[in-house]
Each structure stands twice: as C-alpha cells, then as structure tokens.
C-alpha cells in the first residue's frame, strides 16, 4: 500500500501554533443563564410584530375595562332615529347606526363583550384541554383510550355548529357566560390532542426515566418534568384560540343565536347593519374593523410566540 503514496502525499504535520489544542470539553458558560423561556423572551423582544401586537392587546384590554375613558356618549339610550345611518357629526366621530346610535360609542362598549368571551373560552379550553391531554398522554392505557375517544367525539362536531345547537336550545338564557360555555365545551379537543402528542414525546425522555428510578411519584413527575416541557405548543394554540373564540362569538351573534340584541356586541351590530350594506356600508364596516384588528393582534402574538417557542418554527424563519 505505501507504494501507492505519491511524492506530494508524504506525512504532513501542521505547526502547533496554527491549531493550538484546547482543553477537551471545556465549560463555556458565560453571561446570564439561559433556558427555553429566557431564549424565547430574548427572541420575542427583538421582533416588532411582538410589540405591535402587545400594544394593540393592551389597548383592547384598557378599552374593555374602562370604556368611560374613551367615550362619554352612552351606546344605547341616546339614540335618535333622525340620525339613522348618519355620517360623522360633532361628538360622534364615526356617525350613527340605523337606530341612530353612536357607532364609536357602540364599538368602545362592545369591546368588553368580545374580550370576555375570548378569555372565558380560552380559560375553559385550556383547563379542559390540559387536563384531558395530560392524563391521556401521561397515563396511557385505558385512561388514554377513554379520554381520546371522548375527544374524538367532541372533535367530530365543528364547534360553531355545536354552539349553534346549544344556543338554539338555551336562547332564553343567552349571556356572555352561556355563549362562552357553548363555544368552549366543543373547542377543547384540539388543545388536548396537541398536549397529548407532546407529552407522549416528552415522557420517554431519559430525565423522566431517571426521575422514576429516583422514586419520584408519578404525579410529581407529571407536574415537575413532563408538563413544563410539553406546555409550549399549548401556549401557542391558546393564544390563537382566544382569537378564534372572539370570531365564534361574533359569528353566533351574526347568525342570531348569539347574545341578545340588548347586549353590546360587534357581531350583533354587524348583523344589524347587513340590510343597509348598499346604502350605508360604513355601519357594517366600522365594527368589522374593530373586530378584525382585535383578532389580528392575538393572531400576530400567537405567530410570534410560536416562532419563539417552537424550534422548528424558528428554523423556518
């Protein structure tokens, strides 16, 4: 074999100065400690989309909590039919609805409805989804079979259709809580599925096995090791479900099985304005814009959070 070696292939040794040896496996930990959450925060902090969506969300929350800060005009009881579908006037910057009510005031006062439904549904979906998903994924066996089939059943009915049926039956009792329940009770399986899949992945990790070998109890392992490491995708889906819930409420109100017309709601207003689309499109468009911007801010936040928490999504940027 050595005879095969050509003259320019003789034994070459690089000068040591060129490639000084570094200690094997040297510890390089500088600066602040980092983990998934600190990394995610550092990532999110640098993105304009995060700040835009957060600012919008903060604004929406303030409007919902303190509508009085933004308008002194009462949304309902100051309506005059003489103003029907009227354009902007002094003190009424966006004009009037068909009933002659102040559009701006109605938009401001409708905010809390949308936001409340969004939040209640999201909490409900998160609680149900996390409980079902965590138990099904972590304990497996018959618990998984029962819970997963149950999820399949709820998942097989599109949640807006289910809410239509529920609200048809409970139309007499329609309020923010009932409509939230009607939406949330069928919306949780998606969250449960995502968490279950994530838990199935995490629970086979060696650190879970190591904890078991230590004698840490099953439930404590779930809470300490498994859940914290599988919750990230749930946070993403939860942010987006808040947006979906707001849309769902508006859709139900639009279909006439949502909140009673006495409740201030963007969906109700859009629904009421549809007959005059030809003559007074602004009456329909303005609350639609409010609705869409609110939804958009949560969708954008969800997108940013996904990019920060999902390593795959980060690679996609």
């Amino acid at each position: 074999m050595p005879s095969n070696t050509r003259p320019d292939q003789q034994h070459f040794v690089a000068p040591l100065e060129e490639t000084p040896l570094v200690a094997i496996d040297k510890v390089k930990a500088e600066g602040k400690p980092t983990n998934l959450w600190t990394d995610a925060w550092a990532d999110v902090r640098g993105r304009p989309m995060f700040w835009i969506s957060s600012a919008l969300i903060v604004l929406v929350v303030i409007v919902a909590l303190f509508p009085g800060l933004f308008t002194q005009v009462p949304p309902n009881n100051d309506c005059q039919l003489s103003n029907s579908n009227g354009g902007p006037a002094d003190g009424h910057p966006l004009g009037f609805t068909k009933q002659g009510c102040d559009i701006y005031s109605r938009i401001i006062h409708g905010t809390s409805t949308s936001l409340s439904v969004g939040i209640i549904v999201t909490v409900l979906v998160a609680v149900l989804g996390i409980t079902f998903g965590a138990f099904a994924g972590f304990y497996g066996g018959w618990i998984d079979s029962v819970l997963s089939r149950l999820g399949d059943i709820f998942f097989s009915i599109p949640y807006i259709l289910a809410a239509v049926v529920i609200m048809s039956v409970f139309s007499k009792y329609a309020n923010v809580w009932v409509i939230s329940l009607a939406i949330g009770i069928f919306a949780w399986p998606a969250t449960a599925r995502v968490l279950r899949a994530e838990i199935l992945r995490v629970k086979n990790a060696d650190y879970v096995m190591a904890a078991t070998a230590l004698g840490v109890s099953r439930f404590r392992i779930l809470l300490r090791h498994v859940l914290p490491n599988s919750i990230a995708p749930v946070i993403v889906i939860t942010t987006i479900s808040l947006a979906s819930a707001i849309v769902a409420e508006a859709t139900l109100s639009f279909l006439g099985v949502g909140l009673p017309s006495s409740t201030m709601s963007w969906g109700n207003d859009i629904s009421a304005a549809q007959l005059d689309l030809r003559t007074a499109p602004q009456v329909l468009i303005l609350p639609s814009i409010a609705l869409s911007i609110t939804v958009l801010s949560f969708i954008m936040l969800g997108e940013v959070v996904r990019d920060a928490l999902d390593p795959k999504a980060r690679a996609r940027r």
């Binding site: 095969n4 496996d25 510890v27 230590l214 004698g215």
Partner: protein, 588 residues
C-alpha cells in the same frame, strides 16, 4: 469534458506529471450566523490520486463533513465556500455553474450519506429512487434498460433479491439494506470518485463490517477512488491508505495511514490515538493482557506523554482494582430473568430470555449486544422501571419482585442509572443545581444548606466548576451533560450504577475522559457498575466481566481477558472481528 472515462489522457498534467483526481487547495467554508461569518473549514489541503482511498478523520465540529459537502457543493443552510479551490480533474468546482455541478454530481462524484434512515425519500419506492439517478445521469435510456441497470446496481451493492424488492418502500428495508441501496445509488452512474460520509456509523458493528468490506471490494473492482469521512480513527486507518486528521476546521496531520497511526506527530493526533477505544483494546491485545498494559504504556511513552486521557492508563488503573474485588460477595444476582412483550396481532416477543448473571461488589460487568439484543430491557428490569415476566433479581439481598412501597423507595436510592442520550438525560427547564439535588430532596436528605454543599461536592467529583449550579443544560456539551447525569446518579451515594450506553453518543476524546472519570469514581467510592454497550472496544477498557447478548439470550459470559483472548462463540468472534482497526499492525 462531458464524457470522461476513468483512465483517460486527462489524468496527466501538461508537464507530464500525474494529475490528482481531486485536489483541494486552501479551502475555506463559512456559515453566516447572527454573529457574522463563522469559519467551519479553514485552509484545508487534500490531494487524492486515482484508485486511492483517503479518509478524513475528526470529531464532531471538526469540519470533516462540511469539507465533503463543499466538494459536491451541497452545503447546508447558509454555508458557502469563501476561499480556495476544489479541483476535480483540473476543473474548479468552486466556480462551476449550477448546470455544471449537476453534471458532476452522480456521474463524476458519487455520494453515500451517513444516516440510512433519513436519506431515502419515504414516499417513493426503492426502484423509483435508483432509476431516477440512472435516468438523470443518462446512464441508460428506455424504461426496460433503466430498470435493468437499477437491478444490476442494487445487486452489485449486495441486494441479491433486488428484482423482487424494486417496488418496495424504504421503511420495508432494514438499516443495513438501506445503506446498501444508498451505496448502489452512489455508484449508479459509475462515478470516478465516491464520497462516503460516515457510511456505517448508524449501523450495528457486524453489519458495519460487512458493508465496509463490500464497499471496499466494490470500489476496488470498479476502480473508483474513495474518499470517506469518519470519526473513528481505527476504522479510517483500516479502510484507507491515506489519512487526513482534521481539528477545528484545519488539517493537523495527513499522510499514509499506517505511518500516522504508528507515529502520530501532532499532539491532537496523539490524543486521538490514545483515546480511541478500538486502538486501545488492540494495544492491550497486542501486549497480551491488561496487567501488561502499563509496560506497553511506558514503551509507548511518546504517545502518552502529557496526555491525561490515555485509555491504557484507565484500563491499567482498573486492573489493580479488580484484583482486590475478585472475592467480594455479589451486589447483584440475576437468575433466569425473562421478559415477554405481548404485541397486538403478532403474538409474543421474548425480549429477554432466561438471563442469569452475578456482579461482585465493586466490579464492572459489561452487557454487550447489538440493537434489539435485549440488553437495555435487562437494565430497565434491574432498575424496576419494568417488571420481569419471570425470574429473579436480587439486589443487596432483597428480591426485587417482593419489594414495594417504602422498601422500593429506599432500594432506589442504592441503585441509580445513567442513560445514553446526553440531550435527553437532563430536564432542560431545571437548572443544574436543582437537577443534582432532586435525589436529595426526593429522599429528604439533609436541609437546604447541606444539600447545596453536597451539590458542590458532587460537581467537584465529576470535575465541573461549581458555578454551573445556576446554569441550564442547553449551555453544556454532551459530555458535560453526562457528567451532570453521573453527579445526579451519585447524589444518594448508591452502591450500584447502571450505565446504559452512557458514553456511546460522545466523541472519542470526551468518551475517554468520562471512562476515566467512571474508573476513578469506582475506585474512590467502591461502586458496582452494570455497563451496557454495543461497543466491545470500550468494554476492554472498563469492564471486569463481559456477558454477550444475542436475541435476548446471554451467549457468552467470562472475564474480559478471556472473552477477548479466547472467544468461544462464533457470534463473539464476529463482534471482536468487527472492532474497527482489529487488523492493523501497530508495530508496538
């Protein structure tokens, strides 16, 4: 230029001297990152002549794969060649257009990738993927001809029933078979140069050997020049006449393999030679027994000089220990252990079949076997992470089957595991301090302050700085994570540590370091190890007794020296022969 066959006049330079088929001059490759351009390859020179075989050796991150990918211009992500030349038969590939590169790939340079599991498209049949390569390179035309060539290529690669399996999909093939398909694809267009990037690292050793033998004879037969990339120095030296050792993006040493192995000059190469388990076990073999290892070390003083990680030293230190431990009572007794899994629709699967062994206190027993041999299942049953179907495990006088509740909880503190995957062994959301002290808090040992003290002590024991307590696993390397895992395992001062492929995923130097650490800890703390591994070479360095497992059964059990010097079973002999570098004359 389009139709160059192998022995053409272009192999000669204008001045009459022989022209290398591949000449890499001062190659620089950089990756664009947030912190600017990071150089992964920095001034690499490689010269390769027709019919030769050359291996690039290095650890992960040394730039060896990047160099290979640069040659065929398929650098991942933001990678780009930032300087130098890659001359293939005189044509500078760094300046080649997209179209020109397409001609080069497949037809002039074949490529065999690393992981057989991910390199075949799961949705297309094997035949489709081979035929596509043949068609793209214009090797054959017409449906029938192409199919004929595909069968020929696959048969050549060692797939005897190729005509029958053409319609099958990748997931219906075993890892070894897929690797044969990939080799077949790489050679489909009869290229002049074949680049093989760690072609067998993902396979079991015995399969690895068969595939490498086949690749070697095939390239020799076809007259293909071979460039292959590996992390295993023993393997490189055994399979290639020329060696290029890379470190941190640079070539530190190159030349004829045997010469480099026998007389490594650069300190880094010396480190590698000293740390390679395959070579260490070979050297122990060459000198007769472990007891003679010290002598070998001294005669080999140049190699070992200033080197804290020589595996021979590790083996030697352990040899002394063994003499003292020989008469100790067993720490673990396993009798007729069996585990049967019920598989839906497929009947029973016996993962562990009537396994019996004893491990004397303070010694190491290695359980060796290939994937699917049942060795990890034994570990899980021992740790009571799974229940045995039948048989008995006695630990410290207690029958595992009968312990429950509080007794089991106490028993767990005496027996701790370290697992394989350094990236999965630590909870990424808990800091190092909390990870190491979890055993203490779980078992209610001491108060907050004393636990903190113990964490520091453990960090010292595994030679990591105390400042790591507030850090998270993602900031540590694989080797450092395994140290943390060891520290966690030692926190409760156990008597037994179960090491399930604990060093298998690590680079050789780091692996050698951890092996040394394990040996030292055993001496210091009187630990009993059950060392589970697929790598027989490592066993030589660390274990006192070896049990070889095959398909759930122990086929051979003896002291390490006996197994290495006088293997009784064919299977053990095959495993030994498959240790890369087993055929190298080290000249010691």
């Amino acid at each position: 230029m389009t139709d160059t066959t192998k022995a053409t006049e272009s192999a000669v330079r204008r001045d009459g001297s022989e022209r290398p088929i591949l000449e890499i001059k001062n190659l620089e490759v950089g990756f664009n990152t947030q912190n600017g351009l990071v150089k992964a390859v920095d001034g690499v020179n490689i010269t390769l002549y027709r019919g030769q075989s050359l291996a690039i050796v290095g650890e992960s991150g040394s730039g060896k794969s990047t160099t290979a990918h640069a040659i065929i211009n398929l650098l991942p992500g933001t990678g780009q060649v930032t300087g130098g030349q890659i001359l293939l038969d005189g044509q500078d590939l760094t300046k080649a257009s997209k179209k020109e590169m397409e001609v080069v790939r497949g037809r002039k340079i074949g490529f065999v990738p690393q992981d057989p599991m991910s390199n075949l498209n799961p949705v297309w049949s094997i035949g489709f993927q081979v035929e596509e390569a043949i068609k793209a390179n214009g090797i054959a035309t017409g449906r029938k001809e192409i199919k004929k060539r595909a069968i020929e290529v696959l048969k050549q690669a060692g797939l005897q029933d190729a005509d029958r399996r053409l319609k099958q999909f990748p997931h219906q093939f075993s890892g070894g078979m897929r690797q044969r398909v990939l080799i077949g694809m790489g050679l489909a267009a009869d290229p002049q140069l074949l680049i093989a990037d760690e072609p067998t690292s993902a396979l079991d050793v015995t399969v690895q050997r068969v595939i490498l033998d086949h690749l070697e004879s095939l390239t020799r037969e076809l007259g293909t020049t071979l460039l292959f990339i590996t992390h295993d120095l023993g393997l490189a030296a055994e399979r290639a006449e020329q060696l290029v050792v890379m470190y941190k993006g640079r070539v530190v040493e190159s030349g004829p393999s045997v010469e480099i192995l026998q007389n490594p000059q650069h300190p880094y190469t010396q480190r590698l030679v000293a740390a390679a388990p395959s070579l260490a076990s070979r050297r122990i073999q060459a000198t007769g027994s472990i007891a003679a290892a010290e002598a070998a070390m001294q005669s080999d003083a140049e190699t070992a000089a200033g080197d804290e990680i020589d595996l021979l030293a590790t083996a030697e230190a352990r040899a002394e220990l063994l003499a003292a431990a020989e008469s100790a009572p067993p720490a673990i007794t396993v009798e007729h252990l069996t585990k049967v899994y019920k598989i839906r629709g497929a009947g029973d699967f016996t993962a562990v079949d009537d396994v019996s062994f004893q491990i004397p206190k303070g010694t190491t027993m290695a359980l060796v076997g290939e994937s699917g041999s049942g060795k990890s299942t034994v570990a899980k049953m021992l740790l009571k992470l799974e229940d045995a179907t039948s048989g008995k495990i006695v630990v410290g006088g207690q029958d595992l089957a009968s312990v429950t509740g509080k007794q089991l909880f106490d028993l767990r503190s005496r027996m701790q595991p370290v697992f394989q995957d350094p990236y999965g062994s630590l909870n990424p959301l808990r800091n190092i301090g909390n990870t190491i002290s979890e055993p203490l808090s779980t078992h209610g040992v001491g108060d907050r302050a004393s636990r903190r003290e113990r964490v520091f002590e453990l960090l010292d024991q595994v030679s990591l700085p105390r400042t790591l307590v507030g850090r998270y696993p993602n900031e540590l390397s694989g080797g450092q994570r395994q140290r943390i895992a060891i520290a966690r395992a030692l926190a409760l001062k156990p008597e037994i540590v179960v090491l399930d492929e604990a060093v298998s995923a690590l680079d050789v130097l780091v692996q050698a370091q951890i092996l040394r650490l394990l040996a030292d800890l055993q001496g210091e703390l009187g630990l009993t190890y059950l060392f589970i591994t697929h790598d027989l070479a490592v066993v030589r360095v660390i274990a006192d007794h070896v049990s070889v497992m095959q398909r759930g059964r122990i086929v051979e059990a003896a002291t390490t020296d006996e197994v290495f010097e006088n293997p009784r079973q064919q299977y053990t002999q095959d495993l030994l022969a498959a240790i890369p570098g087993a055929n190298i004359e080290l000249g010691a």
